[in-house]
């Protein structure tokens, strides 16, 4: 068992759940309200120095009673040690957790992927939007266990939506707000930008 688990419990007390070992890796469960604090402590405390974020992902079990787990793989390059931190969420409840992008920039796309695939919302993420699926994807979050392998919509509906999609809509509103393109926008898009639907309006404020 990695000694960091004990050190965490001594520092954070009841915010640290059970610590288990699996295939040589130590897994520490952390309460979701304490996540950001725990991660900052693990990164910055001498003797811990988990300075490298290996991966952020999530697991949902086939057993519907088990919680959805967020999995953070940490590594200390200095000490050559690994630690896995898990946060449990109710898959049918509030799927919100603090973003760790303020600590590791590398979490940016990883959290976006977890949001895309599992629907977990990361509070404080600078740019939380889908990454692998397209922005208007309406079938849900593919890696959830209640998501069927072939998608939620029928093949006919998928084809209908693909054909109905506007092939001219290449850019997001945010991208269209880049100066020169803004003046060429159709009036309704300009109106949406003005209402503050994503993106900055050039020359405003």
């Amino acid at each position: 068992m990695n000694p960091s688990a004990e050190a965490l419990r001594a520092t954070f007390g009841s915010a640290i759940g059970r610590a288990v070992e699996s295939c040589g890796d130590t897994i520490v469960h952390v309460d979701r309200t304490a996540l950001l604090e725990v991660m900052a402590w693990l990164r910055d405390t001498p003797g811990q120095q988990y300075d490298y974020l290996v991966d952020v992902t999530a697991v949902e079990y086939r057993d519907r009673e088990r919680p959805l787990e967020l999995v953070y793989n940490l590594r200390s390059l200095e000490r050559r040690a690994d630690l896995r931190v898990k946060v449990e969420l109710d898959p049918r409840g509030d799927l919100t957790v603090d973003s760790i992008v303020p600590l590791w920039r590398g979490a940016d796309w990883l959290e976006r992927e977890v949001y895309d695939m599992f629907g977990v919302a990361f509070r404080g993420h600078p740019d939380l939007r889908r990454i692998l699926m397209w922005e208007t994807y309406a079938e849900g979050h593919p890696l959830r266990k209640d998501f069927p392998l072939r998608g939620r919509f029928s093949r006919a509906e998928q084809v209908r939506q693909a054909l109905a999609a506007n092939p001219e809509a290449h850019y997001s509103l945010e991208e269209l707000s880049i100066a020169a393109a803004y003046d060429e926008l159709p009036p309704d898009m300009r109106e949406r930008l003005r209402r503050g639907e994503r993106g900055r309006i050039p020359h405003s404020e």
């Binding site: 699996s22 295939c23 040589g24 890796d25 897994i27 300075d51 490298y52 974020l53 290996v54 991966d55 992902t57 697991v59 949902e60 079990y61 086939r62 057993d63 999995v71 793989n73 390059l77 050559r80 690994d82 896995r84 590791w104 920039r105 590398g106 979490a107 940016d108 796309w109 990883l110 992927e113 695939m117 889908r130 990454i131 692998l132 699926m133 397209w134 593919p142 890696l143 998501f147 392998l149 290449h170 850019y171 945010e174 991208e175 269209l176 880049i178 100066a179 020169a180 393109a181 050039p202």
Partner: protein, 429 residues
């Protein structure tokens, strides 16, 4: 038949009164020049779309770039055009059935992906490999590193205007592909590993062929080195471009040559040895400046080191069994399955039910050519994983592209993007 003459009407609308072609003045008149139809663009930012079909984006990557003149202000990458849902598919497959999917993630180094997945599944099940299998997997990994770096070198040199190294690099890659074909029957979709062993053993011809490759390959590397390393164009286009400091590289979770070029001496083969890599003699090249040039140097030297490892692996390749001796894991030979009742039952159970893994989870990171390829497997005790997660090195390295490219020229963006060494099959999975 008489000759027919065709009267040609010359389409010269600009004839003067005498019927001679009107002359157009070659220099602009001294008075007010005619205003062209272009808007005044000073101070305005421009929106440029690069990809998803663009040769310099190395696949179906799409970059939306905000430009101020020729300077990149902002890069917004769009990925997902090649998303195939491998991780979802894996939840519906037996462990051995997932191996063909790993070929198709990072399709420039399929054998190393096979090894990465098999190692994770074996850690989950607590399997010890045979000595021969361990050495063969090292050979598979290092062959993959060479072909992946050769593709990187070839395509990057083309992006920066050097065509010759591309041909040399792809020729070497072709030789490895021939060897892979000799070993597995496939050039690209190798699926060479199985949980607990390998799909096939190598032949003597393969060993001789690889030995010949190992002896002749450094010559090509020296040639590439002579053409590029001190080439003024190459140096000018790559030095000081796309710099990442060591701190930034760690903060952005970069791995592989990207991390090492920034001066972080971290290589999983040395720091978390798997497949007995700690018993091989090789050096880990580390850069200093973290720019595109250092990434090139690191990858070039890694090719030399891989060759060194291959040579040692060939020398030590032990005889003996290839697969673990567990009939519940490894399919019996077809002839036995057809004649021996017990073997037939094992065959049936493996094909129909798959190999069951105990409840638990395992993460194995291996040093792939692109960086740390992590395989995270969660099992609930059945023959299919609850979750198969690939930690995709090029996805995570690509996330740092905006940070590296902003403030550089648009042409540098191409160099920086090339230096990340992405493969979209893995980015999008």
């Amino acid at each position: 038949m008489s000759k027919r003459t065709v009267a040609l009407e010359l389409a010269t609308p600009g004839l003067d009164a005498q019927g001679r072609p009107a002359r157009l003045p070659l220099v602009a008149a001294a008075h007010e020049p005619e205003r062209l139809g272009e808007p005044e663009a000073s101070g305005e930012h421009m929106l440029i779309n690069l990809g998803p079909q663009h040769p310099a984006t190395h696949g179906v990557l799409r970059l939306v770039v905000e430009l101020d003149g020729e300077t990149v202000v902002r890069v917004i990458p769009h990925v997902g055009y090649l998303h195939s849902g491998f991780e979802k598919l894996g939840e519906y497959r037996h462990y051995n059935q997932i191996i063909p999917l790993t070929d198709r993630t990072d399709y420039l180094s399929p054998m190393a992906n096979n090894v990465g997945f098999a190692l994770a599944a074996e850690r989950l099940m607590g399997i010890e490999l045979t000595p021969r299998c361990t050495v063969l997997r090292v050979i598979a990994c290092e062959m993959s590193r060479i072909i992946s770096h050769m593709v990187w070198l070839g395509t990057t040199s083309i992006d920066l205007g050097a065509f010759t190294p591309f041909l040399w690099a792809f020729q070497e890659r072709e030789r490895i592909y021939n060897l892979q074909e000799m070993w597995t029957g496939a050039r690209l979709t190798t699926s060479v590993t199985r949980v607990g062993g390998m799909m096939a053993d190598v032949t003597d011809d393969f060993v001789a062929g690889l030995r010949q490759f190992v002896d002749t390959y450094p010559k090509t590397l020296h040639e590439i080195d002579r053409v590029l390393t001190r080439n003024a164009v190459w140096v000018g286009r790559t030095q000081g471009v796309g710099t990442m400091t060591a701190q930034e590289a760690i903060n952005y979770s970069l791995s592989g040559p990207m991390l090492r070029a920034s001066g972080v001496p971290y290589d999983l083969r040395k720091d978390r040895p798997y497949l007995e890599y700690d018993s091989y003699e090789f050096d880990v090249p580390v850069g200093e400046h973290g720019d595109v040039y250092d990434r090139y140097l690191v990858r070039l030297e890694e090719c030399h080191q891989s060759n060194r490892i291959l040579r040692q692996a060939l020398e030590r390749l032990p005889d003996g069994p290839l697969n673990v001796a567990d009939p519940r894991l490894i399919l019996p030979p077809k002839s036995r399955a057809m004649s021996d009742m017990e073997a037939m039952i094992y065959h049936f159970k493996q094909v129909m039910e798959g190999v069951k893994a105990p409840v638990g989870e395992a993460y194995v990171g291996i040093e792939n050519p692109k960086g740390e390829l992590g395989t995270y497997l969660v099992s609930d005790g059945t023959a299919k994983p609850v979750r198969w997660r690939i930690r995709p090195p090029s996805f995570i390295n690509l996330a740092a592209l905006p940070k590296m490219a902003e403030g550089h020229l648009l042409s540098d963006l191409i160099a920086i993007n090339a230096s990340v060494d992405i493969v979209m099959g893995e980015v999008d999975r």
